[in-house]
Amino acid sequence: MKTLTVANQKGGVGKTTLTVHSGYAAAGANLRVLMVDFDPQASLSLGFNIVQPNPEYLTSADLFSHDPVTKKPQPYDGNIDIIPADERLFDLISASTDDAIRARTALRAIGKARKYDLCIIDTPPERNLLLVAALAIADFVVIPMTLGLYEQGGVERLIETIEGTRMALNPSLTTLGIQLMKTNSKSAREREQVQAMRDQFPEYVLKQELTELASVRQAVNNRLPVWHNPRGSSHEKAAKEWRLATAHILNEVTR
């Protein structure tokens, strides 16, 4: 099982939307996918329609427990299972790095036993033990980023966290790069910024940027991938962009 973590220490950049779509894309490519919610705000869980986790199934806080894991991830749909967040996750925000290692061991065992191809972890928008645990478990991390005025701090702090986690807990963590989110193709200034970034650092900014389009929000609200049954040219555009972006990320992770 390969593990991909989606992270940015700034909120509102579209982390969960990217996580969900990567999951749908992988399931569509016939991979067995395990989605894991490490954010106490539980947006990913909501995205898969889990408002209150079913006590029969595993939640992400269970991974940190000293008791052996006996429950299973909750099946969502065909190829997708999910380990949702529950309130106990709040208590783990300042847990120790030993707990992160325990969660990694537990998750890897589940991956092996249940033969998942890919695990995708959604993270809280701040540096705490849950973010560090998600980075300690991951093979790859992708950084969704918007082009606002104050994005730099979020990315810089995250890279610091990645460095620290790599040194202390996970030497094989690879940074895939920045996924540009919610871009505006009509803003000349933004076009210029993106071009400058690509000219100077072509490998580190993922090729397909994702435009801010209403159809993306609607798809999220309907709990469907944006490429489901696209109607109208703007929806088609969004569908195409998201297909390409997630395909690129998955290629990098699974090759």
């Binding site: 790095t97 790069g177 920045i178 210029e192 400058a196």
Partner: protein, 376 residues
């Protein structure tokens, strides 16, 4: 046991805080220009000679006692020029790609913004933070006055706008001076712009002129006040109408003004609230509190204000009824600051949504009941 803070602390421990300049490799960087007329390399070298390198450069270990420069090429060049052999540094255990990522992000942020662009982005950021100025100031690390000056640029008088449009200046201080001047003495502001057109001068000169004109206008008796005072005498009855009415119904007036906490005092003075808006504020605040008697409060409102209140609510109820698509309707209301968290805005939104929830007729009671339910 180790906390996240310990872990991050270890990242910093055992790092040298100073290295030999000769052990630093510099990769060719995107930035080619290291000086301009205001920031010469020699100037920085002189500062470094006098005070040392104040901000450490950022390095990445390459192994074998060698480092690669991540950030601070200008400082490094100036330090060499100043004859230093060692330079203070911070070491980052970054992979090459992560160093490049940080540089990429830094570079796009560093691109000089036109002040108006910057102001527009600040306004958007402020909206994202639900208008929380303190939070925005924390995020950008600036002072309140700086933010105010920037935001003021979005509300410029025509004279200042001409200066920008005609490419005469984009200097924030100058524009703010003209802004204040135009308020006190519009004719003087016109003259200043004309003058700038005829004799295009350097930025510093125009700034000084605008400063002088602003101070001169301040010194004079306020002409706009003086001008409005005379005709004001003749139009007294209409201007004073609301006040007269509240005097007729002292009980109601006491109720309205009693509901304190009407909006935070922002930098832009909010337009004064109309009596029925004050009534809405009091009512909404009352129903949000447990145990308050909104019915009694409603009954205490004077008949004319009550009518205005009904009209106001009906207007939003009608909008809601005619809106076939909920989302654009709500977004438009939010964009116009008609909908929001503040009492009047929340009242408007509730009246609007009430029509959407299949209510046949609008009543103030129903709106207040909905607000009360939402607040429990």
């Amino acid at each position: 046991m180790s906390s996240v803070n310990d872990m991050m602390g270890k990242l910093r421990a055992a790092e040298p805080t100073e290295v030999d300049i000769s052990s630093i490799d510099v990769k060719p960087q995107a930035r080619k220009k290291f000086e301009d007329e205001n920031h010469t390399l020699q100037g920085l070298a002189d500062t470094i000679k006098a005070h040392g390198v104040l901000q450490p450069v950022v390095l990445r270990p390459l192994g074998g006692g060698r480092y690669e420069l991540v950030a601070g090429e200008r400082r490094l060049r100036a330090a060499k020029l100043a004859g230093l052999t060692k330079i203070p540094c911070r070491i980052r255990q970054r992979s090459e790609s992560e160093s490049a990522l940080v540089q990429a992000v830094e570079n796009i942020q560093r691109k000089d913004l036109e002040p108006i662009e910057e102001a527009t982005m600040l306004k958007q950021a402020l909206e994202q933070l639900n208008g929380d100025r303190a939070a925005l100031l924390r995020e950008i690390g600036k002072k309140e006055a700086w933010l105010t000056q920037r935001l003021n640029l979005l509300d410029l008088p025509p004279q200042a706008q001409s200066l920008i449009d005609e490419g005469l200046t984009t200097d924030v201080t100058t524009l703010n001076n003209v802004r204040q001047l135009a308020r006190k003495d519009p004719a003087a502001a016109d003259r200043l712009v004309d003058d700038a057109r005829k004799t295009p001068a350097g930025g510093a000169q125009l700034r000084a002129k605008s400063e002088a004109a602003k101070n001169e206008a301040k010194g004079k008796a306020n002409p706009s006040k003086a001008a409005s005072a005379a005709p004001g005498g003749g139009t007294k009855p209409t201007v004073a109408t609301p006040r007269d009415r509240s005097a007729e119904t002292p009980g109601a007036a006491a109720v309205y003004t009693g509901g304190a906490g009407i909006g935070g005092a922002g930098v832009f003075p909010a337009p004064p609230m109309k009596p029925h808006e004050k009534a809405i504020t009091s009512l909404v605040e009352a129903v949000r509190k447990p145990g308050a008697d909104a019915v009694k409060l409603l009954a205490s409102i004077s008949a004319p204000d009550r009518e205005l209140l009904e009209q106001h609510a009906k207007a939003y109820f009608e909008k809601g009824r005619q809106s076939t698509d909920l989302v654009p309707g709500i977004l438009a209301g939010l964009a116009r600051n008609e909908f929001g968290k503040a009492p009047v805005e929340f009242f408007n939104l509730t009246a609007f949504l009430l029509a959407q929830s299949k209510a046949e007729k609008m009543t103030i009671d129903a709106v207040l009941a909905a607000i009360a339910t939402a607040s429990t």
